[in-house]
Symmetry: C2
Subunit: 330 residues, 2 copies
DNA sequence: ATAGGCTCGGCAAACGTTTTCCGGCTTCGC
DNA sequence: GCGAAGCCGGAAAACGTTTGCCGAGCCTAT
């Protein structure tokens, strides 16, 4: 049938323009001064022939691919698509591309994925590590080969990161629940090996101990889904029946809790809050913590795109998030 | 600080093993027979030195990158993360990678993104085109350079695709609504320039005309979000107040409709259905059409990964989907 | 016994680009 | 009017890999 169409190379552009390859390269990339007349000739020939520089050849020579590896734990969790989208836009606006890997919450897959990305010679690795412990070794080892940036989830302070502050919003949630008359607050976390969930739990414990020194710490952990949220709510309320406010580490969990509360405990006035301000939170009128995804992405890409790697290697950024109060905490 | 760590090249492996570069290459890739003894020596040296072949060098030589470009319209729509995840897994299990681009529903961005992916010399382009018309030109032009596979949304039958049948599920929905006593059915679509939405609308019109020949076609279109779903429901019900069943082109829309119905029309028994069987549909007990995402992804990657491009170029696949009935259509 | 064929190691070319180096020309200062 | 110092074009090397080709050694069949 139709043959693989021949791609125009810089050599042909040079021939067509009656210039040397070097001159064309310089004229098009602007890497060194070229007489305006020649620049025009080069550009004209290039566009006439439809020339577009081949990134593979360029990468081989420059040792930079203009590509980042992005490793996320689970695209099923709506927070990550939002993050990916923001990162991809930020990257593309600078002419950079993103190789994506979804690890399905498996640390071994994660390490393997990072290695295949390294083989592809990405300029940097953006990672939201799966597991506080099991991900560490692979992460550290990757960091010896390429600049690594932990994004959102940070499991090793020695490696650059861009994260969200968890303390303030959790404190604000607790304060609000107390202000609306609740006294017996509880926390429902995801797998405790997830960095952000752990941090939220710690923040919760601290906020509580400031208000109710010596009081019991009501806390339960489970999976990351409405189903497990419902189950967690059940065990929580059977263990501490007095509970009248629940801070969840995640919207998906909170939705499950909400279901349980609205269905089984319609009479009781139990506050519920989540994290991530997903679409579901908006629809179900669930109080949630909106993540500054855009800011996170901009910081990450800005750091990763910086020409000298020392900037990236020095990145330790924490950005603030904002609680969106809705009916679920009225 | 610490210098960029030197990556081991095949040349060093060859030196260490006392073999020629060619032999090492052949031993490691198995591209030609090599004496077992030498294979062992090559492999030992490779693993001892921690050698991993550089994909950039290889790509330059072989003219294949082992990378696909994936272009999706909007990761905010939960259908696409699911698709991306499935595609990425299928690709990685074959040692292939995916460069992702989110076009934010903008055909111009889409064309630009496709071009930057082409510069990266992807082996194939997997695209869910934004717009039935505005996307066509860019798509066709890209297809002259690289194998292109339309995935889910197809806007040009001349270009290979992997899609989902819309007719059967829509018909099943209509039948069910009729079977449960509804007579005045309506359709709410997304932007009519979205291929799948249009197909669902056509299927709806056809199913209806089979049952109610000559009856009015109640149909409204709007955006892809609960908000616009709610708005659409409002105009729909003011225009055709008798409506007692609504087939929506999308879960997000359906959720908006459901809100409107449950809030404002609590007395009336109006059936609502969506598409994609997202988490929200499950939570809100919304009848929806589950997309065979896994199957779609497997077919797509299998076609794209096939060594000779003629297979991909011949791909025209349609897979079936399944309606999941829930309370919203009881 | 020898011609022909098979196996397999190594040299070198090639993939497409950027960039170093060289050298010719112009300019400028004295 | 002359040396030094830019400016800028072109040849060629380099990035890391795969692979076409050659030829040495061995086997086999007649």
């Amino acid at each position: 049938m139709d043959q693989a169409p021949h791609r125009v190379t810089i050599r042909e552009v040079a021939a067509h323009a009656g210039l040397s390859i070097s001159t064309v390269s310089r004229a098009l990339t602007g890497s060194r001064a070229v007489l305006p007349e020649l620049v025009r000739r080069a550009q004209d020939s290039a566009s006439e022939l439809g020339y577009r520089a081949d990134t593979v050849g360029r990468s081989l020579r420059t040792q930079r691919t203009g590509t980042f590896g992005l490793v996320v734990p689970d695209l099923t969790n709506p927070f990550f698509p939002a993050l990916v989208q923001a990162l991809e836009h930020a990257a593309r606006s600078r002419g950079l591309s993103i190789l994506i890997a979804d690890t399905g919450n498996d640390p071994e897959v994660e390490t393997a994925a990072m290695n295949t990305l390294l083989d592809r010679r990405v300029d940097a690795l953006l990672v939201s590590p799966v597991d506080l412990e099991a991900s560490r070794e692979g992460l550290i080892s990757a960091a010896t080969t390429v600049p690594v940036l932990q994004i959102d989830r940070v499991i090793d302070e020695g490696i650059p990161f861009v994260r969200v502050d968890q303390e303030a919003p959790v404190k604000a949630l607790v304060e609000r629940m107390i202000a609306t008359g609740r006294r017996h607050l509880a926390f429902i976390g995801q797998d405790p090996r997830i960095a952000t969930s752990r941090e939220r739990e710690v923040a919760f414990a601290q906020a509580m101990s400031e208000r109710f020194a010596g009081g019991p710490l009501r806390s339960v952990t489970g999976g990351t889904s409405p189903q497990s949220g419902r189950a967690a709510a059940e065990t929580l309320l059977s263990r501490w029946p007095e509970t009248d406010g629940v801070v969840c580490a995640n919207d998906l969990i909170a939705v499950g809790v909400l279901e349980h509360v609205r269905a089984r405990l319609a009479g009781r006035r139990i506050a519920v809050s989540g994290f991530d301000d997903t679409l579901m939170a908006q629809v179900l009128e669930l109080t949630s913590v909106r993540q500054p995804v855009q800011q996170l992405a901009d910081l990450a890409i800005a750091a990763a795109a910086h020409p000298d790697r020392s900037t990236l290697l020095a990145t330790r950024a924490v950005v603030a998030s904002e609680v969106v109060f809705r009916r679920s905490t009225d």
